[in-house]
Symmetry: C2
Subunit: 310 residues, 2 copies
DNA sequence: CTGTTAGCGCTTTCAT
DNA sequence: ATGAAAGCGCTAACAG
């Protein structure tokens, strides 16, 4: 049985309430009693029970952070940033990895309600996350969307500009003289995939290049192997693209491996650009042009998004 | 105010206890009442409060995971693995990043007591983590050490064999004909640093090569920039080493960048081997020999370590 | 099978 | 400045 307020109180010859006041730094305690209580706390090794505290105060100091893939350097940096900010605010981070799975996401969101998280930061799986997010909100848990919007769900939001970023990356390829530019996309229910595809089309259109459906390759963008296989088919087209825009870093990795599989090299045989940094990887492998987002600071800034259908 | 057992109970015309039984899947409930309760739960959108539950049951379903650097791919994989196992056990992971800072680690460990974590997995900062770990144990929180032992603290442990791993890496260099082999080390209060240095020395000795103190470079092994600078001095020695053994992946990254700074290349001008995988990075950059540890499965296996002084 | 009582450890509220 | 009482939401332990 752990040490409780009452035991400390007895030890210090005061009431539990006074112990509570001291522990929480209330000024309404005389220096003398404060000292006696502090000694008792130290002597007994008292550590306040945050479950009990959360129950009465209805604040737990816990933030839920829900991402599709912790191992993805983009989310890793994000987690890192959120953890840093949370620590400054004396908060703790409950980390949840959905693996892009809606059911798991739903469960985790319900858990956030159950744990009475003070708030939830989430990079949602897709637009289909809407219903679980609504449930969360019904339970008054503040939500901030990260990186992705959700159709039909208005919320505070932290994200980069995918349309403009994609546009810049593809413009860059066009300036280098590329005309046969492919894109590895992902599920259009993911807002960033939609936006980046939009930027890709905009850039091509502005340059008077028609979008070639053969050059738009769907992928899951979560598993590099999946992308690798999809890309191999692309590289074996009779009219092989000279450049590829990957929807994100994982896709880029898959492309890089497919290129190597085919005995080709980057950037000689194929130019590769992508969204999101590969962090450590890109420091070692400078042949990749990335639109790095400040993932680590995504935990600090906020703006309002409409969540309307496009 | 959130929905409580009592409200559900009233709604279903039963006692709170019966609601509790249904929610927790107790078999001692008639099918009829069970159904009525379930309907009430659904109708009111009841989600049990896990703080309250934790208070009575003294189990929270929360595991603390404490690592020095989430952004390090080794720990990222570890986190990923732990999260996976925890999810299977319906547990949640409270993630804490110490940044190799003892004070922060102490605070986090105290928080784990406060939150009544069911257990703590920790890759400790160094041998100096001992006192906070003892406090944790006094409070009956089960601890498992990951990757690193702590002198004077016996505990369950998950780790790879650093001595043998280092030995193999350096043997490999020797087989390739290298004689001038440097090592980037870190704080000897970190068990893996000690062990890997041991393996390095063993390998050299077995080959009849004397350990050259100039070739043993201390670093913090947390910040690639620090390693980068330390390595540059190494590369400017009159008798430059032909190979480097980096104590871990971060150190290897720093070395790789220093090599590039000096206008040299790997592996032509310098062979580089290291402990721990760089994950995504090493898939793109195959010039690096790594002793990859199964970081992701470090969350599943356990053995007993003595924690005696070496 | 179901309900009652009591209490987990803390803090709010109201006294003093 | 300090304390007493009540209750946060839930579940053990015991009825019946």
């Amino acid at each position: 049985m752990a040490v409780t307020v009452s035991e400390v109180a007895k030890h210090a010859g005061v009431s539990p309430m006074t112990v509570s006041r001291v522990v929480n730094g209330s000024p309404r305690v005389s220096p003398a009693t404060r000292q006696r209580v502090e000694e008792a706390v130290a002597e007994l090794g008292y550590v306040p029970n945050r479950l009990a505290r959360g129950l009465t105060q209805r604040r737990t100091g816990v933030l839920g952070l829900i991402v599709p893939d912790i191992a993805n350097p983009f989310y890793t940096l994000l987690v890192s940033g959120v953890e840093k900010v949370a620590a400054r605010a004396s908060c703790h981070v409950l980390l949840c990895n959905t693996h892009g799975d809606l059911a798991r996401e739903r469960d985790y969101l319900e858990d956030m309600i159950a744990f009475r998280a003070d708030g939830v930061l989430i990079a949602p799986v897709s637009d289909q996350s809407r219903s679980s997010l609504r449930t969360l909100r019904q339970h008054k848990v503040p939500v901030v969307l990260i990186d992705r919007t959700v159709q039909g769900f208005e919320s505070d939001l932290v994200q980069g500009d995918s349309v403009a970023g994609a546009r810049r990356l593809v413009d860059h390829l066009i300036e280098l003289g590329h005309k046969r530019i492919a894109m590895i996309t992902e599920n259009p229910a993911v807002s960033t995939a939609r936006d980046r595809y939009q930027g890709y089309c905009d850039a091509l259109e502005a340059a008077g290049i028609a979008v070639n459906p053969d050059y738009v390759v769907p992928s899951n963008a979560i598993d590099p192997e999946h992308v690798r296989n999809a890309t191999r088919r692309l590289l074996n087209l009779p009219d092989r693209p000279s450049a590829v825009f990957a929807v994100n870093n994982v896709a880029a990795l898959g492309v890089a491996e497919a290129v190597r599989d085919e005995g080709l090299t980057i950037p000689d045989d194929l130019a590769l650009v992508c969204f999101d940094d590969l962090d450590y990887a890109s420091r070692l492998y400078p042949f990749l042009t990335v639109m790095a987002q400040p993932a680590e600071t995504f935990g600090t800034i906020t703006r309002r998004a409409t969540g309307r259908a496009p």
